[in-house]
């Protein structure tokens, strides 16, 4: 069976995916203004500073919105439809798209507090999904 897409192997984002493998949500943080960001970027979009570091976070945030895919854009998702995608705002201000684990659709709502849940999909790739806090 055809596999689902994996995270692009962008060297700039490796610390994030390495962190996920260890069960920690790691974000890039600007050393000039302190703002967090992901995906990685050379310059901070807030202060344009070039100095940054990767920092561990609690991996906690809130659902802002969600949608349910009834169409599979990849064959490997056909067995999952309808599946839900959530838009989560981490407490550090960074937004991600992801999936909730163990939450029935009718219980999803904006404002739902969630924490990162790490799901190894291959020996080398671990996705950052979310569960209720």
């Amino acid at each position: 069976m055809e596999a689902k897409p994996l995270p692009p192997d962008d060297p700039a984002n490796r610390p994030f995916w390495e962190g996920a493998k260890r069960g920690i949500l790691v974000l890039q943080r600007c050393l000039d203004c302190g703002r967090h960001r992901f995906p990685a970027a050379r310059y901070c979009a807030q202060c344009r500073g070039e100095r940054s570091e990767w920092v561990e976070t609690r991996g906690v945030g809130a659902v802002e919105s969600w949608c349910s895919f009834h169409k599979a854009y990849w064959p490997a998702f056909e067995r999952d439809v309808p599946y839900d995608v959530v838009q989560v705002r981490l407490d550090e201000g960074v937004r991600v798209f992801s999936n909730l684990v163990g939450v029935p659709r009718e219980r999803i709502r904006s404002g739902l507090r969630v924490r990162a849940h790490f799901e190894a999909v291959t020996p080398t790739a671990t996705l950052v999904k979310f569960v209720p806090l």
Binding site: K4, S65, C67, Y73, V96, F97
Partner: protein, 382 residues
């Protein structure tokens, strides 16, 4: 400076191809077809074109080569719908600066025959980082708008039935438009029975994917007065953007930048929302229509759902909108055909779907780049 341009630049000619599945024509061919029609419309020739703005057609050099023209001013823009409004505004600035006198804006789209998809591995929506979210199954502009709509539903109680009223109104208009691809009217019950693509959005909330081309000829009011058709004046135009953080849906449904555009475009035109005889709203997905109506001040924030549900957008209603059927039912020409429909409404050329006495017609796009243009007749200046 910009205020002084109100009413000085005009649309002299418009041209459109057939729409639908046109596998014999590539994007260049569709552009040439539309441009020939636009030149015929205003009585100018290829030799009169001294400015060329290309959109979606892959290469400007090849386009110039196959049409045999050597414009003084040339540019090309990415195939994103927000660029129709941007290109038209660029044309105005170029003409006003004296860098060209007669600008051909040419758009060609063979997306249907080329098998274009707006989701999956080729998804380039947003600012290019989409691949990061593919492992979670997140893809497509439709999903982006589904997320925005879900939030609007939670925040304000907006319903999918209200979206259905938009789609059904535009389809009703398309039934009066011989050029429209989808012309069979549907009921709200039929809309509700359509399958979900990305819930809360159903099939009929999505625009079409089809082939077609559109061209517009812009020139100064002085020059246009001697041409074949009565000029249609650009009474007002404005632009703003919300590019920062735009991989994700905007918290405010693009309201703040739309309010800036609205203030500017209405001041320039010396008119307000209530003065508009018809609206052309970029309808890639039905929720965008709601966001646009709120952002441009047709209704208070959060109230667009009930506002559209009682026929205001239909022919005969307070603000007939997308009288051609729009992207949902006429053809997905990424804003270009909506601008052409605005011109044709002001000229009174729309036959069964004509809005009586359409003197001011407003085009608007809600996207990471927001544009609006108010088209007016000679009478609207008086």
């Amino acid at each position: 400076m910009k205020q002084e341009l109100a009413g000085r630049i005009t649309v002299a000619g418009v041209g459109t191809t057939r729409y639908g599945k046109l596998p014999e024509y590539d994007a260049y061919d569709l552009g040439v077809w539309a441009l020939k029609a636009a030149l015929e419309d205003c009585g100018l020739s290829f030799d009169d074109v001294d400015g060329l703005i290309i959109n979606r057609i892959p290469d400007y050099q090849r386009f110039g080569e196959i049409t045999g023209i050597n414009p003084r001013y040339t540019t090309i823009t990415p195939g994103q719908g927000r660029f129709s409004g941007i290109c038209i505004q660029t044309a105005v600035a170029v003409i006003a600066a004296g860098m060209a006198d007669v600008i051909a804006l040419v758009y060609g789209n063979n997306g249907r025959s080329a098998g274009d998809h707006y989701g999956g591995a080729s998804d380039a929506y947003g600012s290019g980082g989409a691949g990061t979210w593919f492992p979670y199954g997140m893809t497509s502009p439709g999903a982006f708008h589904a997320l925005m709509m879900r939030r609007h539903m939670e925040q304000y109680g907006t319903t999918t039935e209200q979206l259905g009223a938009i789609a059904a109104a535009f389809r009703k208009h398309a039934s009066l438009n011989p050029d429209a691809v989808m012309r069979t009217p549907f009921t709200l019950e039929e809309d509700r029975a359509a399958r979900y693509i990305c819930e809360p959005l159903r099939l009929l909330d999505y625009c079409l994917i089809n082939d077609g081309g559109v061209a517009m000829i812009l020139t100064s009011a002085e020059r246009a007065r001697h041409l074949r058709k009565p000029p249609v004046y650009l009474r007002g135009f404005a632009q703003a953007s919300a590019l920062a953080g735009s991989t994700f849906p905007p918290d405010d449904y693009w309201r703040a930048p739309m309010q800036r555009v609205a203030a500017e475009v209405y001041a320039m035109a010396g008119a307000g929302p209530a003065d508009m005889d018809a609206l052309m709203i970029y309808d890639n997905f039905t929720p965008t229509v709601l966001f646009s109506l709120e952002g441009f001040g047709f209704c208070p924030a959060g109230e667009s759902g009930p506002w559209v549900a009682d026929g205001k957008l239909e022919l005969g209603g307070a603000f007939p909108t997308n009288t051609s059927g729009g992207h949902l039912s006429e053809s997905y020409m990424q804003g270009w055909a909506l601008n052409v429909e605005a011109v044709r409404q002001v000229r009174g050329e729309c036959g069964a779907r004509q809005v009586a006495g359409a003197n001011l017609v407003q085009y608007m796009t809600a996207a990471p780049v927001i544009t609006s243009i108010i088209y007016g007749s000679e009478a609207a200046a008086a």
